[in-house]
Amino acid sequence: MVTEHEVKHIAELADVGIHKEELETFTHQFNAILEYFDTLDLVRGVPAAEDGLVNILREDEIEPSLTQEEVLRNAPAREDGFIKAPRVM
């Protein structure tokens, strides 16, 4: 069981936020789903160690790509050819 306080904490960790009035319903639904996830306790076996695949990487070569104008076109806030974002620190 998770509490309303924990659900609020998860919403903050996930950066999705939560409205006060949603908290009770969200917590109730979250617990019903987590209870259902408990069927995974029936799972037997260990994770496969290695499936034989290795990373598939391309050569780091310059290829034609989008122009700066094309890249910026969808950004809602920009300045001097840059994208404007909130401060991180």
Partner: protein, 434 residues
């Protein structure tokens, strides 16, 4: 390749489309002049692509998804972008931020989801073919509910380049059509290798459906006819399988023991992947509105995402964040991956003795609008479709009759890279009942 235009101005009483292109260009090729509807999570250069989410309202992709490039090369006309559950998260198309799509067979019911707009556009007679995407049944469910055909290809057979990601390890773009032949035609255009998708496999599709199934061995898993499946739906599907037997197939009873936890494994996996994939939607580079640059990063980011994402999207991001958090990873994500291995092993075991597996696509007919308001009850409706995504195998839904006036889908699952065979079985059935 372009140069010609056609007129596409459907009335759209079912709200199948989010965007229509009234004068789309088209060229020459196998799909010359054929209007194709494209699900709104597939990038189309110059045409708004929203994933039915407020957070991407106004987003105009600067490039085409690989499948859209292939459609244009084949001469197709991109007719418009179809409604869906926001980011593909849902089984009804009611989770669209722009309002639900209605089922053309009964407008009081949902078309299924998440590719509900594509299915309704076909069932409503607006287009013959459409692209959908299938993460846990999102092509097959609406195909079944609307009475059309839809294929989830083998994982890797169709490039995901330009598909706005929800759960990469599960999802595939696939074809939907009025008939199985339409599905095969469209699959022939979109399948093949693309180096821009690192999971892409070089297995093009060049197959004309054949109506010959003599000696075909069909596995019938008991779980697909067990508790939770509407008995009337089960009866209609059993009759369809009897028809395949009359046409020369043999049935073999079988069991998928991992079904008991497959759905939980699916939801843990897809929400975990979603929590990572959807981190990119911050209103900074695309979508919006722009975050308040006077606020701190997390504060501004949360404001944008709380208002921009609908409740189901936020719920899945939160579930995934929780399942991956330290202390719970072993209980949820790690277990789900073992469960997934077990599902694959069960299929491998069954396919050692049969050619295809058949059962209902969905455990019920289409729900009434608003019927599945509780998220868990909506998740449970995916029980018969998610095993194919967990295993990465091909699966098709073909209409096989009606219950209380609503269409029922017969699901045929096949071995990896035997998309041709599931298409042949569906085609054989379809030709026999026309």
């Amino acid at each position: 390749m372009a140069g010609h235009t056609l007129t596409f101005e459907p009335a759209d009483p079912y709200h199948a489309f989010l965007t229509t292109c009234s004068r789309p260009e088209h060229g020459h090729g196998p799909l010359a002049g054929v209007p194709i509807a494209v699900k709104d999570n597939i990038s189309t250069k110059g045409i708004e692509t929203t994933c039915a989410s407020k957070i991407l309202k106004g987003y105009i992709p600067p490039y085409d998804a690989h499948v859209v490039t292939l459609l244009r090369k084949a001469g197709a006309a991109i007719a418009g972008k179809t409604n869906m559950d926001e980011f593909g998260m849902g089984t009804t198309t009611e989770n669209s931020a722009f309002g639900p799509t209605l089922n053309p067979c009964d407008t009081g019911r949902v078309p299924g989801g998440s590719s509900g707009g594509s299915a309704a556009a076909i069932a409503g007679g607006m287009v013959r073919m459409a692209l959908g995407t299938d993460t846990g049944g999102s092509i097959r469910c609406p195909a079944a509910f609307c009475g059309i055909a839809g294929l989830k290809p083998t994982y890797g057979r169709v490039s995901r380049y330009g598909l706005i990601a929800y759960a990469n390890s599960l999802e595939q773009i696939g074809s939907m059509g009025k008939t199985v032949s339409d599905v095969a035609t469209l699959m022939g255009v979109i399948a093949g290798h693309d180096r821009r998708d690192s999971t892409s496999v070089d297995r093009p599709f060049a197959h004309t459906p054949k109506g010959e199934i003599k000696g075909l061995r069909i596995g019938i898993p008991e779980e697909y006819f067990g508790p939770g499946v509407d008995p009337e739906v089960a009866t209609v599907v059993r009759k369809a399988i009897d028809r395949l037997v009359e046409l020369g197939a043999v049935t073999v009873p079988c069991s998928i023991p991992s079904m008991q936890y497959a759905l939980a494994a699916y939801y843990v996996t897809c929400t975990s992947e979603a929590s990572s994939n959807l981190a990119r939607f911050d209103g900074v580079r695309y979508g919006g509105p722009a975050p308040d640059t006077k606020k701190s990063w997390h504060e501004a980011y949360q404001d944008v995402r709380r208002e921009g994402f609908g409740p189901e999207v936020r719920r899945r991001i939160m579930l995934g964040t929780f399942a991956l958090s330290s202390g719970y990873y072993g209980k949820y994500y790690a277990k789900a991956q073992v469960a997934r291995q077990n599902v694959k092993a069960d299929f491998a075991h069954i396919f050692a003795g049969v050619d295809v597996i058949a059962g209902p696509t969905m455990p019920s007919i289409a729900f009434r609008l608003g019927e599945k308001s509780d998220p868990l009850s909506m998740y449970l409706a995916d029980i018969l479709t998610v095993p194919a995504n967990l295993a990465g195998i091909p699966a098709i839904s073909v209409p096989c009759g009606k219950v209380r006036g609503m269409p029922v889908g017969l699901q045929i699952m096949g071995k990896h890279f035997e998309d041709e065979r599931v298409i042949d079985v569906a085609y054989t059935y379809e030709q026999a009942v026309i």
